[in-house]
């Protein structure tokens, strides 16, 4: 299974997502990257990310994204 870090690196290979930076404020992820990321996370972890959770703060760091994955419901 891919990791969140692996998926992020596929979407934006030019950035190092292990660095302690704000992915949104630093321009490492734009709104289209977030859409691609949501789709990949849902497919990889068999989850359904709620539309109201698709806000910048939930994608600002590796920790925030991993928390989002953990609390998202499993696909029926």
């Amino acid at each position: 299974m891919k990791t969140v870090l692996g998926i992020l690196s596929e979407i934006r290979p030019e950035f190092d997502f292990t660095e302690n930076r704000d992915f949104i404020k630093e321009g490492m992820l734009d709104s289209f990257d977030i859409i691609a990321l949501v789709s990949s996370l849902e497919q990889e972890f068999l989850i359904r990310i709620d539309g109201t959770d698709i806000v910048p703060e939930n994608f600002a760091s590796l920790d925030a994204i991993e928390k989002l994955v953990r609390r998202s419901s499993k696909k029926a």
Binding site: S31, F32, I35, T52, I54
Partner: protein
């Protein structure tokens, strides 16, 4: 705000789309992003093809073409139209009203009312509310409610946020009195404090067009647009829709006493496929009941996506059957609105090309 109407019926819908098809694959080279990244979004967002008018084509051209088609086919008589309500954000002129232009070009009678209304993605709902209210008058029996946009002419071709999804189209929805009809439940909300989420900054009296306003600028994410182009903050719009639309639909169902399962179709405005599918998931509605195929085939034509949705997805069936449908529009303003009503046994419901 909750609204309730009695004795009103949609008797026909005609959608007019331009013949010209623009394909996303051909446009992708215009965007200053890696081609792989752009193509990855194709299926997620519904970037496929969209209908675009030629330069010089205006809203009145599409509406006159559609109305003339209805007259030629004998589907409505010119003298029977007592009101033209045009809801658009791309009028032919500031002055005169484009509805008057349409009236004049078609030689319609003087004894009628023509109204232009400025609304965007909720234009279908707002137009219906006005049509329903006009029909309170004894002298008004038939309202032609027109939704029309040629906003592709105001979108930068180098703006990946907006251009792949923009579509041009017009629709004519005939609304009449019918006191055997079920009540029509509706609601509408507005938040002008977030008006800049969707905006064309220059071209009005606040910021007239000039050499400066025509200069394209990078928005910081690689999209090029000028102040005369449509600007959309996609993230803000997405968050607004996810936050406001589900409670609006719940409230509408409560008001009507209906359950989610009682509704045959959720015919919503279609800004992009991803947003609609997330909305369907949040509402607990199957993708089949909430079609999201208009934006990838015709583009987002603002208030015209709902009539296009009706014609394309259930146009044949709605001639002989009846359905309980929920319409919802949400966007510029910001405005969000929904309607629960029965539609069916229409005299016509089809699409034609301009």
């Amino acid at each position: 705000m909750n609204l309730l109407y009695h004795g009103r019926r949609i008797t026909g819908v005609l959608t007019v789309v331009p013949q010209k098809v623009s394909n996303f694959d051909d446009e992708a080279v215009n965007y200053s992003f890696p081609i792989e990244k752009t193509l990855r979004l194709k299926s997620l967002m519904g970037f496929k093809e969209h209908r675009i008018v030629d330069d010089g084509t205006c809203v009145s051209d599409l509406c006159v073409y559609g109305l003339q088609y209805l007259f030629d086919q004998g589907l409505v008589l010119p003298q029977d139209i007592d009101a033209l309500v045009l809801v658009t954000q791309s009028p032919d002129y500031f002055m005169p009203p484009t509805s008057n232009v349409i009236q004049g070009r078609l030689g319609l009678k003087e004894d009628m009312i023509c109204l232009d209304v400025n609304q965007g993605c909720a234009a279908f709902e707002v137009g219906l509310f006005i049509a329903f209210s006009l029909l309170d008058q004894e002298s008004i029996h038939k309202v032609a409610m027109l939704n029309a946009e040629v906003l592709s002419r105001k979108v930068s071709k180098q703006d990946r946020n907006s251009f792949p999804l923009i579509g041009d189209a017009a629709s004519i929805t005939l609304v009449e009195k019918d006191f055997d009809q079920s009540p029509i439940y509706a609601n509408i909300m507005m938040d002008g404090s977030k008006r800049e989420a969707l905006m064309i900054p220059a071209g009005g009296f606040r910021l007239p067009c000039s050499q400066d306003t025509a200069i394209p600028h990078d928005d910081g994410t690689g999209n090029l647009r000028s102040l005369e182009n449509l600007r959309m903050n996609g993230q803000d719009v997405f968050n607004f829709v996810m936050e406001k639309v589900p409670p609006m639909i719940s409230s509408l169902l409560d008001q009507s006493g209906k359950r989610l399962d009682d509704v045959n179709y959720f015919l919503f405005h279609q800004p992009n496929k991803f947003m609609l599918e997330k909305l369907a998931e949040k509402l607990g509605v199957s993708y089949k009941k909430m079609p999201s195929n208009i934006v990838e085939r015709f583009g987002n034509s603002s208030g015209v996506t709902i009539p296009t949705n009706i014609c394309y997805n259930i146009g044949e069936r709605v001639l002989n059957e009846e359905f309980i449908v929920c319409f919802a529009g949400f966007g510029s303003g910001l405005t969000w609105s929904s309607i629960l009503m029965k539609i069916g046994n229409m005299k016509f419901c089809k699409m034609i090309e301009f």
